[in-house]
Symmetry: C2
Subunit: 144 residues, 2 copies
DNA sequence: GTAGCTGCAAATCATTTGCATAACC
DNA sequence: GGTTATGCAAATGATTTGCAGCTAC
């Protein structure tokens, strides 16, 4: 239920240690509930504890990924963004090209059609990503 | 019609020069008709003319992108892949996680649903990407 | 001829790794 | 107590940029 607890379980069951750095990074990560870059997360973590290094943030994000609690995305930027994986279903993304904001959505009809397409090629889907890039509601009124 | 011709037009209309390096890079790129990395394209180009540098390949790919004749993708790898943009409609990708092969497809029903979803959020789509990752037909028989 | 190119080497940028010290179990 | 982590600095890999000479128009 609590992702922090899950993370602790993952660490101990893997023979890894639950250090205070890892705990803080994970805590801040799950509290943000957003699509953050390693750098952005590092800045947030630094506010709480400036002694924690960027490298530790990277390493913790990798652990979170391995434990299935975080997912990595490449939204066309040169850096990756990470999002917490909630027990809910898979979802896709609306990405605003103006403000960079990310809105999640899910649509079962689209998923079904994806399966249809894949099987017509004899292809077996493991995962997918659907990203819609454009202008969000808030940015539409603005100049340019 | 001919992408090479379009590229020449783009260059001259932008006050840029149609050097033999650019021509060769573009020629090889369009002949491949695949999703290549800059590095892979560079290797192919080198077979024809080993004096052309990787940097020139990068710069030419950028020009091809700016002219609308190439599109850049990030398929979860750490390097970008580029594909020729044909006058045909937009398409999406099936990416095999075993052999790395990329199969294109298009599906208007999915596109329609995407528009539906977006407008329900007041979002205006500029572009999108849909990528299905999994095992292609050819790799399904193989071990592991 | 001159502005725009090329190739090299060096600079970036995001991310990873080596290593000596420090912290968990 | 010993293995595993941390943080720093340095390495990496992809991509970009500065610059002196080269080339198309």
């Amino acid at each position: 239920l609590d992702p922090l607890l899950k993370f602790s379980c993952y660490l101990s069951s893997s023979g890894l240690k639950a250090t205070k750095q890892r705990q803080l990074v994970a805590e801040v990560f799950f509290r943000l509930e957003d699509h953050v870059s390693a750098e952005a997360l590092y800045r947030k973590v630094s506010e709480q504890d400036p002694s924690i290094g960027l490298v530790t943030v990277y390493r913790t994000l990798r652990l979170l990924g391995e434990s299935g609690l975080a997912r990595e995305h490449r939204f066309g930027e040169n850096s990756s963004r990470f999002e917490p994986v909630l027990p809910s279903a898979h979802h896709d993304h609306l990405i605003c090209t103006r403000c960079g904001n990310v809105q999640e959505f899910e649509n079962p009809k689209i998923e079904n059609l994806q399966e249809e397409v894949a099987s017509s090629y004899g292809f077996q889907i493991e995962t997918h990503r659907l990203e819609l890039y454009g202008v969000c509601k808030g940015c539409q009124g603005e100049s340019q």
